[in-house]
Subunit: 221 residues, 2 copies
């Protein structure tokens, strides 16, 4: 039995929960430390991660401290998923997993993040900036929907970290589109994406994290 990994997290931030889903899937023991936004960009937390963001993990079993959710997920499967249940060791599949993980990191996360920013936090209302990012969110659905045509999962015939990495930003949709979320008509406009997302949401690890996140949001700043 390995010692629990420490996961530095935030109640509402999607990226730490992305890591938590993988920990749950792999049944790797972990404890969560919630960090307030105000404490992220100064020591002692900034000493762990010069980028001043969560997630960060500390793994007492290997001594590593690591940040960037994409790199943490790769570390977790390479260290704890010894039978490759959530990834592939063969080529070309393992490179396709990397491709989709990088698309999630560079194409979904940042654009969904900017959509949240201009919808909820920017100092003034900028309709054309908001529209830019709402359109980018729809473009991500379009790309995923096209890639999933005739397929259950993004790579091969099993659920991998590539699929699972998209879940927690997708949970932010109501936060981005508010009352207009329904008008996206996801099932009609992006049927492959919609069915895939449903398959992901039905996994017990994902269900547990959705519940944990809701509970954490109620008690942490």
């Amino acid at each position: 039995m390995s010692k629990p990994i420490v996961l530095y997290s935030h109640a509402t931030g999607p990226n730490p929960w992305k890591v938590a889903i993988i920990l749950e899937e792999l049944k790797v023991p972990y404890t969560t430390k919630f960090i307030n936004m105000a404490d992220m960009k100064k020591p002692p937390f900034e000493t762990l991660n010069p980028n001043g963001r969560v997630p960060v993990i500390e793994d007492p079993n290997t001594g590593i401290t690591l940040w960037e959710s994409g790199a943490i997920i790769e570390y977790l499967v390479q260290t704890y998923d010894t039978t490759a249940t959530l990834t592939y060791t063969s080529s070309p599949e393992r490179f396709y997993v990397s491709q989709w993980l990088h698309f999630q990191m560079s194409g979904q996360g940042p654009y969904f993040g900017q959509a949240v920013w201009f919808t909820r936090f920017h100092e003034e209302s900028l309709p054309s900036a908001k529209k830019r990012y709402h359109d980018q969110v729809k473009r991500v659905f379009y790309v995923l929907d096209k890639a999933l045509e005739g397929k259950q999962w993004l790579v091969g015939n099993k659920c991998t970290i590539a699929d699972l990495s998209f879940v927690t930003w997708d949970l932010m949709l109501p936060f981005i589109f508010g009352d207009d979320t329904g008008s996206l008509e996801l099932e009609k406009n992006y049927p492959n994406y919609f069915a895939w997302n449903k398959r992901l949401m039905e996994r017990s690890a994902v269900k547990k994290i959705v519940k944990d996140k809701t509970e954490a949001t109620a008690v942490h700043e």
Copy 2:
């Protein structure tokens, strides 16, 4: 001698040139096909990459077609850098390389890209959006500068794909800040970053790509 890899590229886009630097470093033969922006989001190119962007590679030696610059770079070192000159096979170093590559993909590329967008291409001038991304660019310098304190390279004591992946977006600075580029006072404000960037720019692979990009910009749309 391996058959040349086909690299789909664009004259001004930073991401294909990031891949070209690694191909040059590894002395892997390749040919470049330039794609116009207008042709990226429709077949036949969209069939290669549902995300409708460059870079994409086709490698006749393995039969793989791959997109996302971060994934392509990982593929290239794992396939062609058999003595790990530009990466590490040992832990924790290989995970730190992954961490910085993911930071480049999610933290530098997208934010520098939005800074370019709101400075050069957005339909209206939005000073507060422009300021947001100019500040984010400076924050990336701050993070790199802090991480490079007392160090020559981001991971261990050699130049890796982690370092090299930052070069081509850094070349966009004059495009983002225009006449104000000098007022960033990079050498004074981010001395570790400045010295590191200079070391990178002195590498022969980087010099060649800077020259190739300048020449391509003169003849391709």
